[in-house]
């Protein structure tokens, strides 16, 4: 991957102040929601929903 190609493909130059990472915020927000809901599922369904595994007789 040569940097010449990268220069060509660059349409504009964005400095620190012109760049707002809203896309990142959106992606991480979605990721966070997935994490939270999967944790709830794991805790309440898989963990609490299964009986004790170590104690007592089957």
């Amino acid at each position: 991957m040569s940097s010449a190609i990268q220069e060509q493909e660059r349409e504009r130059e964005l400095g620190h102040d012109e760049f707002d990472p809203i896309g990142t915020l959106a992606l991480i927000g979605i990721y966070f929601l997935i994490l939270a809901s999967m944790w709830l599922f794991m805790y309440f369904v898989e963990f609490l929903g299964n009986g004790p595994t170590v104690v007592g007789m089957i």
Partner: protein, 578 residues
């Protein structure tokens, strides 16, 4: 300006050697990986189940000790020399540490593989976690010691470069790549201290027959003291690629240099005082200590989220410079045809999934659900097995041309390779996580039992096994494509400028951050204090209850006893003759 090899031909040779060695280790690890997968899923069983642990040990050690760390020393040498813009201080010293690591790895590797040879009474079927009561032949530990000392000297080499640079540039901030190397190495020095004690004071003398027994819980705890920070030792070179190279490939610049520094400091401080989270199920460690460690572990989420933010934002910056817009449609403007970019992006995505299973592992109570099941290998094949391994492979598509001056043999195959790894790992990890949830154990040659069936709420065990076997086959295929591409590249006649060895300057540079971030002595001191706080009481209680050398018990396997017995018989008969 030019490729790395144009500036640093001598260093390029060393780095190349480190990368090639790591690829050989990866190849060996991959062969054992697919053998064990096909064996435990009962698809193809051509090894004896009794040899399963030899295979598993070889897979673990070749992958996570040899492959990852050989790659790391290459990466770190690249980072230090590139960012300080100076060659290594003394090449013969650098070759010395590389040689030590290689000799150590060969000794340890051969000792493991001798487990297959029945006529030789040497084995090291101790798994990559190598704590008591599993016992290896002394050569296994001696090789490890050499290897680790090699890494210590490598670290000294990079520190030496930095000190020399600092004398000439007393007022400048440490360049970010070197900063990452130094903080990671400080963490490594702290972490490996425990494993040095464990090997030199306990495991090696015990294996030599000097001690009859050791305290297993002590060796376990010392292992995990080292065993958590080592995961960051694997990860940091991958993070380094994500922070330094991925923005470049995406056509952008790193979002924030100060944030990257904070992340590496947090890892230095927090990665060691959490090792006991691997021991939630160990009797003999009080619940209170485990609770403290769980809290520390949750703090580690902070640098992980900071990384996710910084890296994705840097990629987004690239996409927007390439004309991307909207909340999500900027994703389409990324260079998905570049294997180095796509491989690392997919590796990052898998890491996000690994974040989920890691969060489950980290909870003290919910950990009971998954402990020692296939879920756990499922988790770490997403992290070290993909986030790290796939980033290394993807990075090689850029790094190897930089180190050799030769053109990458095939870009389309490289692209196929990274996608294939992603698909294969999706199957394998999905199967491993779900198998773990229904209780299928890890580290088991034949996880099938008479009069008992694992019950899957969704799908069936044979479906899970099929996914595992298919995943492993795709991964192996992907690995073959990678190695083949690297081999052809190494001998590629067509030399073509591989592009410039430059790391784009960050959007927000180091001058925006407080100088205290660069105070290595301060962070080292805090890291040491945190370790002392976290480990003094648990270690004291383990030793006071179990004794430094334990209270008895047998080693597995007892190979050395034969030697001792033989010596005794020989001595006695000699005495009888006299």
């Amino acid at each position: 300006m030019g490729a790395y090899i144009d500036h640093f031909p001598r260093e390029a040779k060393l780095i190349r050697s480190a990368f090639y060695t790591s690829f050989i280790m990866l190849a060996l690890g991959g062969i054992f990986g697919v053998i064990q997968t096909l064996h435990r899923t009962d698809v193809v069983r051509f090894i004896d189940s009794a040899d399963y642990y030899t295979v598993l040990t070889a897979h673990g050690v070749f992958m996570v000790i040899a492959f990852t760390i050989f790659f790391l020393v290459g990466m770190f040498t690249w980072a230090v020399t590139t960012s300080l813009e100076r060659p290594l201080e003394d090449m013969s010293f650098s070759w010395l540490w590389f040689l030590m690591m290689t000799v150590g790895a060969v000794i340890t590797g051969v000792t493991i593989l001798l487990g297959f040879v029945e006529s030789v009474d040497v084995s090291a079927d101790v798994l990559f976690t190598f704590y008591a009561p599993l016992q290896a032949h002394p050569l296994f530990y001696i090789g490890l010691v050499l290897f680790v000392i090699g890494t210590w000297l490598a670290g000294a080499d990079w520190f030496r470069s930095w000190w020399a640079w600092k004398r000439e540039n007393p007022d400048e901030r440490i360049p970010l790549p070197t900063f990452m190397v130094l903080t990671t190495m400080i963490m490594w020095y702290i972490a490996t201290l425990a494993i040095a004690v464990s090997i030199l004071a306990f495991l090696l003398p015990w294996s030599l027959g000097i001690f009859d027994h050791v305290n297993p819980l002590l060796t376990r705890t010392l292992f995990w003291f080292f065993g958590h920070p080592i995961v960051y030792f694997w990860l940091m070179p991958a993070y380094m690629m994500w922070y330094l190279l991925l923005p470049k490939f995406a056509g952008g610049r790193l979002f924030s240099d100060p944030l990257a520094r904070v992340v590496f400091i947090l890892f230095l401080l927090l990665s060691t005082p959490v090792g006991i989270h691997h021991q939630y199920m160990d009797p003999g460690i009080a619940e209170g200590f485990k609770f403290i460690v769980m809290t520390n572990t949750m703090f580690l989420l902070l640098p992980s989220f900071l990384t996710a933010f910084t890296v994705v934002a840097s990629i987004e910056h690239g996409a927007r410079q390439r004309g991307g817009d909207g909340y999500f449609s900027w994703l389409k403007s990324l260079p998905w045809r570049e294997p180095a970019f796509t491989g690392m992006a997919l590796a990052g995505l898998m890491f996000a999934a690994g974040g989920f299973s890691g969060m489950i592992n980290a909870g003290m109570n919910i950990n009971y659900l998954v402990h020692n099941t296939l879920w756990v290998p499922g988790h770490f094949h997403l992290t070290v097995g993909t986030a790290v391994a796939l980033s290394f492979m993807a990075g090689s598509y850029w790094l190897i041309p930089q180190m050799t001056g030769r053109r990458l043999a095939s870009k389309p195959i490289a692209l196929l390779q990274v996608v294939l790894w992603f698909v294969g790992m999706t199957f394998m990890a999905n199967s491993m996580h779900r198998s773990g949830l229904i209780g299928i154990p890890r580290r088991t040659a034949e996880p099938q039992y008479q009069g008992f069936e694992f019950e899957a709420a969704l799908g069936s065990v044979s479906e899970l096994n099929a996914q595992l076997a298919i995943g492993a086959t795709l991964l192996f295929l992907s690995l073959t494509l990678f190695l083949w591409n690297m081999l052809i590249t190494a001998f590629n006649k067509s030399a073509e400028s591989p592009g410039e060895n430059v790391i784009p300057t960050p959007l927000s540079g180091p001058d925006d951050s407080p100088a205290v971030l660069d105070n290595m002595k301060l962070w080292t001191a805090i890291a040491v204090v945190l370790v002392i706080l976290a480990y003094t009481l648990p270690l004291a209680s383990i030793v006071s209850r179990g004794g430094l050398l334990g209270r008895g018990g047998d080693a597995f396997p007892v190979s050395i006893d034969y030697l001792a017995l033989f010596a005794q018989v020989a001595l006695e008969s000699a005495a009888g003759l006299v």
